[in-house]
Symmetry: C2
Subunit: 415 residues, 2 copies
């Protein structure tokens, strides 16, 4: 019988004891639980249904802001953004006053548990739909495989741990705005495990489908059916599978389906004068998804501003649900103090925060905006393919976080 | 063919246009969505499964605090607690400084839509598991039927609109700490509609099962199976059925399964001296459920207290997630300003707020506390048995509230 390293390893103060079998963790990007519910109601996810009974399906609390880079970083480090430093997809770098993508591992302040797993003898593999995540997810690893669906054709042995990724997976590089971008990732993960090229795998999907389709839309249902098929293949290959999400997804639109936006920088300028910079950490290269509109923003105020007054004024804006100064945001939202401006702002279940009307290209979201970033996309599915041991069954009755998923699949299953 | 009044009626600024068929709305007390998921995964809710496909199943945002009286009052009035005045199960009445149950219709400040439906010619019926709700739910009605499972044997034609309720339902008065207390309500509702004694019905269950059992426990699964059977009977009787919940439910315990409590009055006294009164609005006669421990509390501070300082101190307590002064609680949580003390406090997904250790009898929750009251029990299922019309299908993409359920079942279904 094939043997897999069961040597314990640690990362960021947590210990992981991997089982003698392949381990696969999936980040089902943007998977509000309703997507699973609707697919299950139509008998499209038989493997997930089986997991509900034989394994574990519950809900976990994600990290805020409920964005992709933030939560993927939490999942692979096992800690909150306060500790790993990734506070968004995008930020105003205080070191040079530049607004930049937060895609580089250089911004990551915690070690990844993937690197620790590799050092302990596991063959690690990372496949991500979006190229933007590859660098962060690869941090600290020296041998493992790491490539994206988006740039599959560019994968090279030296830099990505694999040559000819398209051939390996058996599919061409998918269009990033597609279901295939995610399915490519799952298929790659199956192949890695089936062939024994990796036995400790993290698979991170993309939320194009969820941004564009309701849970009951045929396209979404079909997508989850396809996900379920891959879930079955991973289990059939002997893997214990953990699945969670980086964030949920809600419609953020007015009655006429136009985007329901609070243009915060405009409003601040109108009320208090120039000098306010509103940064939208949802910003990423994938503008079709959301037009850079999410339910979380940070405000950099001019030094002359009366922050208490500004905070109170923002708190009274229709659609704003929470406003925190920096210290409180660190304490309540577990955010890194130097990367969140002076104030952080969250908006309602059906409201997004924008910068100025001119800043946003709404052409791709004009007739329907589904997005995330706030409190109402914080709760996500949390799935383990095998039965939990008594300790973790008890632990599941606590405030489980999505970034506990590697803990559960390594330490939490029955021997 | 039998005909039902389709005369529109209004309550609290909302108009309702009932369909020419019986209408039944169910409050699935304490039904976190996970209860439905687990029962569905085991094929125990075929009628709900069918509704997911042919009707509508989604999530709605309840009223805060996520307690029974608050949300039942919202459901039957269609408005927030700020407008209907019911801020808990229990409060400190500022008019006479007495701590009392908030069970009386005398505390209700809004008309019920049930009274308006009755006035418009519908035959209304209310059946509630807990006697504590009967008075509020009956407010303003003159002819309709209203009785509780708990006190079924005491129902009289003159006061309850029905004699011999036990015989009518075909079952004896159930024990309040039981699944039967809820099932009696559903059976009564079916009987009322099947016999034509009521055609506009509100059925409010009790959450004993959810307080005591996880979604995967056999007792909970069996309970939801029984609920589903009654759901099917209501639909078979021709009713359009709406179902939602007053609140969700989460485990609130430490690793050893003992209650995870912040004793707020004790802590305030230790820090700031005597004079603070912490009121726990979850308090009700059903102590077996929760030991008066929930995730929401109000603080009445002595006049000498520095409220800003006290608020900030509470906000720093481990386990506390939100603290608001009165004005902010009214604005952000839609609460009635005169019934919430000086400060309102919410606690985390796995934390409850207590008064003092001496105040609580923990004997019924010593080895497992599941409770509610806070932000993490705010989101609840929202179910309509028939397909939504295009306007309401669009509306469902907004920030739907649990107290929109009568709106959806009357105005929202396809003609």
């Amino acid at each position: 019988m094939e043997s897999f390293s069961t040597k314990p390893f640690s990362a960021n103060g947590r210990e992981y004891c991997p089982p003698n079998q392949p381990v696969a963790v999936i980040c089902l990007d943007g998977s509000a639980d309703e997507y699973l519910d609707e697919a299950l109601a139509r008998n499209l996810m038989p493997n997930l249904k089986q997991i509900s009974r034989a394994g574990y399906r519950g809900m976990a609390r994600g990290a805020l802001p409920s964005f992709t880079n933030v939560n993927n970083s939490s999942i692979v480090t096992g800690v909150s953004p306060e500790k790993h430093g990734i506070s968004g997809n995008f930020f105003l770098n205080p070191e040079n006053d530049e607004e930049v993508m937060m895609n580089s591992a250089a911004f990551l302040r915690a070690d990844t548990l993937l690197a620790a797993a590799e050092a302990a003898g596991r063959k690690t593999g990372v496949v991500t739909a979006k190229e933007k995540l590859r660098d962060i997810l690869s941090a600290g690893r020296t041998n493992g495989i790491a490539f994206s669906a988006e740039k599959a054709k560019e994968a090279k042995k030296g830099s990505h741990g694999i040559d000819n990724a398209e051939q390996y997976v058996g599919e061409g590089t998918p269009e990033i705005y597609s279901a295939d971008a995610s399915l490519f990732v799952l298929k790659a993960g199956c192949r890695l495990i089936e062939r024994g090229d990796a036995d400790f795998v993290y698979l991170s999907l993309t939320d194009f489908i969820q941004h564009k389709y309701r849970p009951t839309d045929e396209t979404a249902l079909s997508f989850y059916q396809d996900i379920d098929e891959q879930l079955g293949k991973l289990m059939a290959a002997g893997a214990v599978v953990g699945a969670t999400a980086d964030h949920g997804m809600n419609a953020k639109q007015c009655a006429d389906a136009s985007p329901n936006v609070v243009y915060l920088e405009s409003k601040l300028s109108d009320e208090f004068g120039a000098g306010f910079r509103v940064i939208l950490p949802i910003t990423d290269p994938y503008v079709h998804h959301h037009g850079a509109l999410g339910s979380f923003a940070v405000v950099h105020a001019p030094s002359s501003a009366d922050l208490v007054k500004v905070m109170d004024w923002i708190d009274h804006l229709e659609g704003v649900t929470e406003v925190y100064d920096r210290e409180t945001a660190v304490r309540k939202l577990e955010l890194p103090s130097d990367r969140i401006g002076d104030l952080v702002v969250l908006s309602a279940r059906n409201v997004v925060i924008g910068k100025t009307p001119e800043h946003h290209d709404l052409s791709h979201v004009a007739t329907g905006l589904r997005s995330h970033g706030g409190r109402y996309e914080e709760m996500v599915p949390f799935i383990v393919s095998e039965a939990l041991n008594p300790t973790y069954r008890q632990k599941a009755d606590g405030d489980v976080r999505n970034f506990d998923i590697f803990d559960f699949v390594t330490n939490g299953i029955q021997a």
